[in-house]
């Protein structure tokens, strides 16, 4: 069955790619890439993602002679700094970073500092499966146009995970956390807002509570920040004293928070991957009773991208990897709950019928309907500002 599917997809891909004008160029890229080792800088805190990256490397090695070496980061900003220090030292070619898993403020920083390679997305044959219209989700990163300087690979949706046995009735929206925490003191928390997921928790609340959510789509101003975040801080001040460790200490990231849920120190964790609860149960990392829930009005969603630095030593190889990630077969493998369980970034309308039909399922895996509407990310400047303001208010 699997092989049949693969064959269909490959055939469809081959037919479609014949029409691509850049085909000749792509052949050149493939030729250059052969024998290269791509240093893919990617956050290394999630073993399943690490395993998936290893799988990608095996596949690209077999098919295109391109091997992948994952450089495991504890924070994506490390890679940004690395490219910067190379630029600082005048190292404009042969850089140590070939490909970065990136989005949001890190992307904005690299774009603004001129640390990215020329746009390459439209050169990738598999970009044909994407919706490439200018404000399509795959072309906008936290409201900032990507200009094709980064290529999407996995879809992220903000979800909560609760232990359905210890905490059977989680709050139905962000507002509800205040009462829930008052009734269950010390049983919930969020990652430190200097971490991406911690900031996302605050953003989810902001999107729900801002008097004018549309204002969040423009770059932040002092005036707008004061008006739009006022209800958020009021809510947070009511919530904080009832959080884990009285809201004085926060887990460093969502992985540690998931561990706290597993250790029964808390009852609610959060994730940017709707499949992570099911995956963690299967891995023995969460109790069988873990379930996903989403605030009633929907939750923030965004796309993870890969970008190529301006001085990448193996840019051709990096493009081959980026293209392979967009292959419908790779995307289906990625969406497989036993592999990664991340939702695909491809446009269903452009895919062959039934491309993702026979993926396995699990009790802790939500359906797309369960997840409700996807809310847009605020402009990246809001996140930076929110994090700074939180630190100024609560770091003493």
């Amino acid at each position: 069955m699997r092989h049949h599917l693969t064959a269909t997809l490959l055939a469809a891909g081959a037919l479609l790619s014949l029409n691509t004008p850049a085909l000749a160029d792509w052949d050149k890229t493939l030729e250059q890439a052969r024998g290269q080792t791509v240093f893919w800088n990617a956050w290394g805190g999630d073993q399943r993602t690490n395993d998936f990256i290893t799988w990608v490397g095996e596949q690209t090695q077999e098919r295109f002679g391109v091997s992948v070496q994952q450089v495991k980061l504890s924070d994506t900003a490390e890679a940004v700094t690395r490219v910067l220090s190379e630029k600082a030292a005048g190292k404009d070619t042969g850089g140590s970073v070939d490909l970065i898993w990136i989005n949001g403020p890190n992307f904005l920083a690299m774009k603004e500092q001129g640390l990215l390679a020329e746009p390459f997305l439209s050169d990738l044959p598999n970009a044909q499966y994407l919706d490439l219209s200018p404000d399509a989700p795959a072309m906008v990163d936290f409201t900032v146009p990507t200009e094709g300087r980064e290529s999407p690979w996995r879809l992220a949706r903000f979800v909560f995970i609760h232990d359905s046995e210890r905490a059977p009735n989680p709050p139905s929206d962000m507002e509800g956390f205040v009462d829930w925490a008052a009734a269950h003191p010390g049983r919930m928390t969020h990652p430190d807002p200097s971490n991406f997921m911690g900031a996302t928790f605050l953003k989810q609340a902001l999107v729900e509570m801002a008097p004018d959510p549309d204002a969040l789509q423009s770059p932040v101003s002092d005036q707008a920040f004061a008006t739009q975040t006022a209800p958020l801080w009021e809510w947070y001040d009511a919530l904080r004293p009832n959080m884990w460790r009285q809201g004085q200490v926060f887990p460093e990231n969502e992985s540690i928070q998931q561990q706290l849920l597993n250790d029964a120190e808390i009852d609610i964790a959060l994730s940017f991957d709707p499949a992570s609860a099911a995956a963690a149960i299967e891995q023995g990392l969460l109790p069988d009773t873990a379930r996903v829930f989403v605030p009633e009005g929907g939750s923030i969603g965004n796309i993870s991208f890969v970008a190529i630095p301006f001085n990448a030593a193996h840019a051709a190889g990096a493009q081959v990897v980026a293209n392979f990630l967009l292959d419908p077969e790779s995307q289906a493998h990625m969406q497989d709950i036993t592999v990664l369980g991340s939702f695909s970034v491809l446009d269903p309308a452009k895919l062959p019928e039934g491309a993702f039909a026979d993926l396995p399922t699990a009790p802790a895996l939500p359906t797309l309907q369960d997840l409700g509407p996807t809310l847009p990310e605020p402009h990246a400047s809001w996140m930076t500002r929110l994090t700074e303001e939180w630190a100024a208010r609560y770091t003493r």
Partner: protein, 572 residues
């Protein structure tokens, strides 16, 4: 008169080797440190043209001061650093008094000394967390069905950090004390003082400690500088909001907003100032005691309760060692666990699958760790032997400035010069990657190898080289055929220490490796902020096992090499 057939004694002073060694040390150790500090200074003054910062001035410091929590981070750093040093010193002294005439402490200390800080910290975290092994053991008695909401880990006062650092630093100071005791006429002094009927603790405080102190002063300053600026342990056990200064700076160096490199560099100078301030505090204390101490003793004063306090401290030291061994054990338990929920005392389901995948998970980092450790330890060992041999030929005792030079890399906070060094190395067109990391490690391995090797080298029976010279051997032949074989045990021990120091390095690997160089330590620290304790357990166990096995090898080899030379096996 014809020439003598051979020279009976080597030339009284031969400075050639000394000059070469000094030049090499200056070039390979002092120069990179200075270059790194220079880059840091420039960036702190607002000068970093590569990111468009050409506005020289105090802007970076103003920005640093505006960072929320900076004051608290600085105070917490100072507090945890000073408290760790004092506590380690007290525990080491108490254990030294109790155990100095016994052989077993060294054997217990070996694995503790060998295990890298990060592995120990990770294990300790598993042990003392509110849902950790200790709480699981206490749960049935206390009636907890879920972990108590108390801050035993990452507490704002840094108590967990102090505990974790002391667990590692006090055995180091204890070892230094035990080694220093050999250089003073201990038993004679003890005998005469006991004859005067003085209580034991008082004898040590007033008679032994003043002789011991100059011999352990530099190690104490090393512990102080290290505890004030440690990054990996503080990330795992330390306070979180705000973290310690060094962690705050490491994060600032990695901020996506690249202009943050400037306040990060300014903060590095603050960190440097903190270390200098604390070091000056120690020297000031030493001065005050030198001035008033003799008078105080002469008046016949005693510290009431000192004997009891020392006995309690020795028990605490023993408990600390037990806790450390338990931390290493819990790493091993997690590495073979499948599921282990609170409040089970032992895992519900075991699994070997993570060890079966160890090659895939950690094979690359393991190889890198081995290569970097072996090469940097070999380099440091060669340099140390050359240095000591040069001292012999120069026939003069080591100057204080030379001693300070050897210790310099350990007396400065790493964060003050490593990022700058990376920029300087890039600017100089040096190759990145494993080679640079190995060099960086060697900078920090060399002092420890010197510490380990200097005393045994000086303790070498001078009649042996003299006899060899009388038989016509030249200085190189004496080195190869007499000194090194006789010193095989300390040389191997120093190598093992060198390997252990290299394996434990975190910041040099992170900053100099351009992230491409992953060792077991960087891997373990990264994994410790992930969600899978079992894999963390595998990597941290490997990280701890590697230096422990090296120590074991260093102990075992002489027994094999000298199986027919009974007198050589005992070591020094």
């Amino acid at each position: 008169m014809g020439r003598a057939i051979y020279q009976v004694t080597p030339p009284a002073t031969d400075r050639r080797l000394a000059r070469i060694v000094l030049a090499a040390v200056l070039l390979l150790i002092l120069l990179p440190i200075l270059a790194g500090v220079w880059q840091t200074l420039r960036a702190a003054a607002g000068w970093m043209p590569a990111i468009g910062a050409t506005d020289a001035g105090l802007g970076a410091f103003r920005e640093l001061l505006a960072i929320p929590g900076l004051a608290r981070a600085t105070l917490v750093s100072l507090w945890t650093g000073v408290a760790t040093t004092l506590l380690s010193l007290a525990l080491a002294a108490a254990c030294c008094i109790r155990w100095h005439d016994r052989g077993w402490p060294l054997r217990v200390l070996a694995p503790v000394l060998a295990a890298p800080h990060a592995a120990l910290a990770i294990g300790l975290g598993f042990l003392i967390a509110p849902s950790g092994w200790l709480a699981r053991t206490a749960a049935p008695l206390a009636g907890w069905d879920r972990p108590p909401d108390i801050g035993t880990l990452n507490d704002p006062f840094g108590l967990a950090l102090i505990l974790g650092l002391t667990a590692k630093e006090f055995p180091f100071l204890l070892l230094m004390m035990l080694a220093a005791l050999k250089q003073i006429p201990l038993s004679r002094h003890l005998r005469s003082a006991r004859a005067l009927g003085l209580p034991e603790a008082h004898i040590w405080l007033t008679l032994i400690a003043p002789q011991l102190w100059p011999l352990i002063r530099l190690p104490v300053l090393v512990v102080l500088a290290y505890s004030l600026s440690v990054v990996d342990v503080a990330m795992i056990l330390g306070p979180a909001n705000p973290p310690t200064l060094a962690v705050m700076l490491t994060r600032l160096y990695g901020d996506p907003d690249l202009m943050r490199l400037l306040p990060a560099s300014a903060g590095s100078l603050l960190q440097l100032a903190l270390v200098i301030l604390a070091g000056a505090g120690v020297m000031g204390l030493q001065r005050a005691i030198r001035r008033h101490g003799p008078h105080w003793v002469a008046q016949g004063n005693r510290l009431p309760g000192l004997t009891v306090a020392m006995r309690i401290a020795a028990i605490c030291g023993g408990a600390m060692l037990a806790m450390t061994l338990a931390s290493l054990a819990v790493l091993a338990v997690w590495s073979v666990t499948w599921r282990w929920s609170f409040p089970d005392i032992l895992p519900k389901a075991l699994s070997w699958r993570f060890w079966a995948r160890a090659g895939q998970i950690a094979g690359g980092p393991l190889m890198t760790t081995l290569i970097v450790a072996l090469i940097s330890a070999a380099l440091a060992l060669a340099a140390a032997i050359a240095w000591l041999e040069a001292e012999d030929r120069r026939a003069a005792p080591r100057a204080p400035w030379a001693e300070a030079l050897i210790y310099l890399p350990l007396l400065l906070p790493q964060i003050a010069f490593l990022y700058g060094l990376n920029i300087a190395a890039l600017g100089a067109g040096l190759p990145q990657g494993v080679a640079l990391v190995t060099w960086g490690h060697a900078i920090f391995v060399f002092p420890y190898v010197m510490i380990a090797l200097s005393d045994p080298w000086r303790a070498l029976d001078p009649r042996l080289p003299r006899a060899a010279a009388a038989l016509g051997a030249g200085p190189w032949r004496i080195l190869w055929r007499v000194k090194l074989p006789v010193l095989l045990v300390p040389v191997l021990t120093a190598s093992a220490i060198g390997v252990a120091v290299s394996v434990a390095q975190y910041l040099p690997t992170l900053f100099l490796g351009a992230g491409r160089v992953g060792t077991l330590t960087t891997e373990a620290v990264t994994l410790s902020s992930g969600s899978d304790r079992r894999i963390t357990g595998v990597v941290a166990s490997l990280q701890a096992l590697l230096p422990i096995l090296t120590y074991g090898l260093a102990f075992a080899l002489p027994a094999i090499v000298f199986r027919n030379r009974r007198a050589m096996r005992a070591g020094r």
